[in-house]
C-alpha cells in the first residue's frame, strides 16, 4: 500500500500507453520514458508512483486500492463496472465500438438482422446489453484475439470490436453497420483514496484535468 502522501496511478500498456505518459508529462506530474517504465513496471517519482499494468487490469488495481488512480479506456469500463469513481474524460485514445459485417454480407440496418444474430467480440457484456436493449436476440461468441477472422470463416454473422481508424476492418473486408459507443481514456479513482487522502489525490486529479482540457 502507499504511504499517506504518495499517490499511485495505474497506467495501461497498449494503445493508450503513449497518450497516458504524455499526459503525465504535460500535467507536470512525471516525465517518464516508455522504455524506463516498460523495464521496471513500477517507477516512483516525486511523490507519484506509476504502475504499468494490462489495460483490462486497471480497474482491478484501482478497485482493490493498490492504485489510487487509473488511466483506462471507457471500453474496458463498459465490460468491468466496479466500485471506482470515474472522474475525468482525458480526451485521448478516441475510438468507436462498432458492429461490422463482411462486405459481401446482406446484413445492414436492424431490419436486416436475422431472428438470432451471432457476433464475435472481446466485449461480450457490452455487446449483449446493446442488442438486448434493441429487442434483438443475440448469441455472443467471446474471442480473445483476431476477432476480424471469425465472420470470414463463417463462425459468426458479424463482429463487435473497437476501431480507431477503420483500417483493420477494411483490410479484412469488413464494413461498419452500427456504432455501439464512443470510447476515450478516462481517469478513475479508488473510493477510499478520495476520502482518506483527499488533498494529495485531488491535486493530481486537478493537474490531469487541466492538462487534458488544454489538449482538447
Amino acid at each position: 500500500m502507499t504511504p499517506a502522501q504518495q499517490v499511485a496511478i495505474a497506467v495501461p500498456t497498449g494503445a493508450l500507453h503513449d497518450g497516458a505518459l504524455s499526459l503525465l508529462a504535460r500535467s507536470g506530474l512525471a516525465s517518464l520514458g516508455a522504455e524506463e517504465l516498460g523495464r521496471q513496471l513500477l517507477v516512483e517519482r516525486e511523490g507519484l508512483r506509476v504502475i504499468l499494468v494490462r489495460p483490462s487490469d486497471v480497474p482491478a488495481y484501482v478497485d482493490h486500492g493498490a492504485a489510487d488512480l487509473g488511466i483506462v479506456g471507457k471500453d474496458i469500463l463498459w465490460e468491468t463496472p466496479g466500485a471506482h469513481y470515474e472522474l475525468v474524460d482525458l480526451r485521448f485514445g478516441g475510438c468507436r465500438l462498432v458492429l461490422a459485417v463482411p462486405d459481401a454480407s446482406s446484413l445492414d440496418g436492424p431490419e436486416t438482422w436475422p431472428p438470432m444474430i451471432r457476433v464475435a467480440t472481446k466485449y461480450p457484456r457490452t455487446a449483449a446489453a446493446w442488442f438486448e436493449s434493441r429487442g434483438q436476440a443475440v448469441e455472443v461468441v467471446q474471442l480473445h484475439g483476431s476477432v476480424e477472422l471469425a465472420p470470414q470463416v463463417g463462425l459468426v454473422d458479424g463482429i463487435v470490436d473497437l476501431t480507431a481508424t477503420g483500417r483493420t476492418l477494411r483490410d479484412n473486408r469488413l464494413r461498419i453497420t452500427a456504432v455501439l459507443g464512443t470510447s476515450t481514456a478516462r481517469l478513475i479513482a479508488n473510493q477510499a483514496s478520495l476520502k482518506t487522502r483527499t488533498a494529495a489525490v485531488q491535486s493530481v486529479v486537478a493537474k490531469m484535468r487541466e492538462a487534458s482540457s488544454d489538449a482538447g
Binding site: T2, P81, G82, E86, L87, Q191, A192
Partner: protein
C-alpha cells in the same frame, strides 16, 4: 488404442476427486484467520453490549415475502433463492438489517421503543465479482430503532468509531454525510425528469464524466449544478458546512446541513471529533437512507470497513412505523486489516502438551482437567510415546510446555528453553497454573 487421458487438467476422469478447495467464492478460514475473525467479532459485540445493545440471532434463511418488502431490486437479484419443502420461496440473507426490522415489527412488537439490538453472522451473495470474489462474508451490526434526531445519529456513529477501536484498528476515520442534502439538490435543480433520472443513474455508478455531459447540455446553470459536479470533493471539517450553506437555496438541503452541524458537535462531545470528516458528496443507496449516513475507513484499504445511516422508512413497511438508524462492520475486512498489520496478532499458543507412556495415561488425563480448570489450553496425546517421540510430538503441536507423564507419581516437565525436570504431577500443575495467574 489411445492412452487414457489423465492428469490434473482432465475433467473427464472416471472417478472425479471431490472438490477439496470448496465451492468457488466460499472460503475456508484456517486456524489463525478463524481465531482473528472470532476475536474481532467478540470485541465488536462486546463494545456494542457496553453501549446497551442486546444481541439477537436471526436465521440464515428468510422468506422472500419479507425480503421483497425490505430490499431493493438489485439486492434481491443477488440472493441465493430456493424453495423449501413446503413450496415457499426462501433466500439466504444478503444483509441483516431487514431480519432485525422483521423482528422489531413482529416478535418484539410489544417491546417499548427505542430498542438497541446487535447481531453477527454470515451474509451471502450470488454475485462473484463484488467482494474480491467472495460470496460469503461476515457482518457485525447494531441497530437503534425508535429514536430520531441528532442524538441518536451521533450515538450510532460514536459506537461505530469505538467498535473500530475495540478491534485494534489504530488509524481510522469516519465520514459523515446526509441523504437529504442530495435529495434537496435534486428537488431544486432545474432539469426534466428523464435527465434527473439519468443524473441519479450516473451518480449511483459514480460516473462523473457522464454527469458532466448531462449537466453541460442543460441551459439553466444553478448553484446546485456546481454542487453536483463537485460532489467527490465536498469533504472537510465544519468549514464545508458553511461553504455548502452559501450555495444551496432549498430547505431540504439546508435542514440537512444544520442537522449535520449538530451531529458534529455531539461527536466532539463523544470524544471522537478528531476522526470525523464531513462528506456532503457521499453516494449511497438514496432510496433506502433517509438522513445522516456514514462510512468508516481503516488505514490504506480500498473499501469502507463500516457503513450505516438513518433509514426511517423501513419499519413502516413491516407495519410498525418507527425511525431507525444503525450500521454494520464488514468483519472480513477488519480481520484482513489485522492480519496485514505490521505486528499481526499471534495465534494463542497451547500451554501444555501432555504426553504419556504406559501407566502415565490417567495422570495425563487428570492433569489435563486440572490445567483447563485454570483456563489453560492443554492437549493430551492419543498414544503412548517414548521420550524422543514425545519431544517430536511436542514440537509438532507447538505448545509452551511438554509434560511427559511416566507414572502416577512422576512426570517429566520441559519448558521451552529450560532443562527437563522430574517432579510429582501436582507440583507441575501448581507451577504451570501459578505462571498463568
Amino acid at each position: 488404442m489411445w492412452p487414457r487421458p489423465g492428469g490434473f487438467f482432465t475433467s473427464a476422469s472416471p472417478s472425479p476427486a471431490p472438490q477439496l478447495g470448496g465451492v468457488p467464492g466460499f472460503r475456508d478460514l484456517l486456524p489463525l484467520e478463524a481465531e482473528i475473525l472470532r476475536e474481532a467479532q467478540e470485541s465488536l459485540l462486546g463494545e456494542m453490549r457496553r453501549w446497551g445493545y442486546r444481541h439477537v440471532i436471526t436465521p440464515l434463511v428468510e422468506s422472500m415475502d419479507v425480503l421483497d418488502v425490505g430490499l431493493g431490486i438489485e439486492q434481491r437479484r443477488r440472493l441465493f433463492k430456493f424453495t423449501d419443502g413446503r413450496g415457499d420461496v426462501v433466500a439466504l440473507v444478503g444483509e441483516r438489517t431487514v431480519p432485525v426490522a422483521r423482528l422489531v415489527a413482529g416478535k418484539l412488537r410489544a417491546a417499548p421503543l427505542p430498542l438497541r439490538l446487535c447481531y453477527a453472522g454470515p451474509v451471502l451473495s450470488t454475485d462473484e465479482g463484488r467482494f474480491q470474489q467472495r460470496r460469503e462474508t461476515y457482518q457485525v451490526g447494531a441497530e437503534l430503532v425508535g429514536a430520531s434526531g441528532p442524538v441518536a445519529d451521533a450515538e450510532v456513529i460514536a459506537l461505530a468509531a469505538r467498535c473500530m477501536e475495540a478491534t485494534g484498528i489504530r488509524r481510522y476515520q469516519i465520514d459523515v454525510g446526509h441523504a437529504e442534502f442530495f435529495q434537496g439538490i435534486m428537488d431544486a435543480v432545474k432539469l426534466p425528469d428523464e435527465v434527473k433520472a439519468a443524473v441519479r443513474t450516473a451518480l449511483a455508478a459514480r460516473d462523473f464524466v457522464a454527469l458532466e455531459a448531462l449537466l453541460e447540455d442543460t441551459p439553466l446553470k444553478s448553484a446546485e449544478h456546481e454542487l453536483l459536479l463537485r460532489f467527490p470533493a465536498l469533504r472537510g471539517g465544519a468549514e464545508i458546512l458553511e461553504a455548502a450553506g452559501g450555495l444551496v437555496r432549498n430547505q431540504r438541503s439546508e435542514a440537512a446541513l444544520s442537522e449535520l452541524a449538530r451531529v458534529r458537535e455531539l461527536l466532539v462531545a463523544h470524544g471522537i471529533g478528531e476522526v470525523v470528516n464531513l462528506d456532503l458528496g457521499a453516494i449511497r443507496d438514496f432510496d433506502y437512507y433517509t438522513g445522516v449516513i456514514f462510512e468508516g475507513y481503516g488505514p490504506d484499504f480500498g473499501r469502507p470497513v463500516a457503513q450505516g445511516g438513518r433509514y426511517d422508512g423501513l419499519l413502516e413497511r413491516f407495519g410498525r412505523p418507527a425511525p431507525a438508524t444503525g450500521f454494520m462492520v464488514q468483519l472480513d475486512l477488519v480481520s484482513e486489516m489485522l492480519t496485514r498489520a505490521p505486528r499481526p496478532p499471534a495465534l494463542p499458543r497451547l500451554d501444555a502438551a501432555l504426553a504419556w507412556s504406559g501407566p502415565g495415561l490417567s495422570t495425563a488425563l487428570r492433569l489435563g482437567s486440572t490445567l483447563r480448570l485454570f483456563g489453560m489450553r492443554a492437549v493430551v496425546d492419543t498414544e503412548s510415546r517414548s521420550t524422543s517421540e514425545a519431544n517430536a510430538w511436542w514440537h509438532a503441536v507447538g505448545a509452551a510446555n511438554l509434560v511427559h507423564c511416566l507414572s502416577d507419581s512422576v512426570v517429566a516437565w520441559s519448558a521451552t528453553g529450560q532443562r527437563t525436570r522430574r517432579l510429582p504431577p501436582e507440583q507441575v500443575a501448581a507451577r504451570l497454573a501459578g505462571g498463568v495467574s
